[in-house]
Amino acid sequence: GAGVSQSPRYKVAKRGQDVALRCDPISGHVSLFWYQQALGQGPEFLTYFQNEAQLDKSGLPSDRFFAERPEGSVSTLKIQRTQQEDSAVYLCASSLTGTGGISYNSPLHFGNGTRLTVT
């Protein structure tokens, strides 16, 4: 299928380790979002890309979090010096339009997420 693909599906990291999470959006989708979802909670916004431009990174919890989308397609979320509070599911979503995540006919398409556990 041509859905949003995230890898790895599961990641266990020791505290202090760096991790990189990958998102392959649907081909041609302009907008890309990263969300963090704690157990039993709703997705919390982290950052937004329109093509290669990172238009909003206001949700990144600290400067240990860094996201990029250098060619306007694949995106990587990097977390440096992981802490236990970083344990969560990290969701990536893409949408067709470039005017934001929600347009009149452009919903978000989500991947299945990466579950990060920091021990």
Binding site: G42, P43, D56, G100, G101, I102, Y104, L108, F110
Partner: protein, 113 residues
Amino acid sequence: SQQGEEDPQALSIQEGENATMNCSYKTSINNLQWYRQNSGRGLVHLILIRSNEREKHSGRLRVTLDTSKKSSSLLITASRAADTASYFCATDLPPGGYQKVTFGTGTKLQVIP
């Protein structure tokens, strides 16, 4: 922080019954959407309602929007066991550039066969 808050947090019904869940949000919006999330999976888009619409239907789903009360409701009629999932509302800000999408806290629905 999350823009929306769903109510109830959890709902358990018998198959065939209707399920109603509500979403309240804080600021003016452009559109409101509802998503479903099965355990261990990503979110799946269900329905979008624009800020100038009051009601919308899609199959067994009915969504209402009251912008004066900053609230929306999702009704699932004739529920099925396969409807068991968490449901989230998502809002974006009024037009004026890029529109940040934020999600509510979710309602966990259990449909008992």
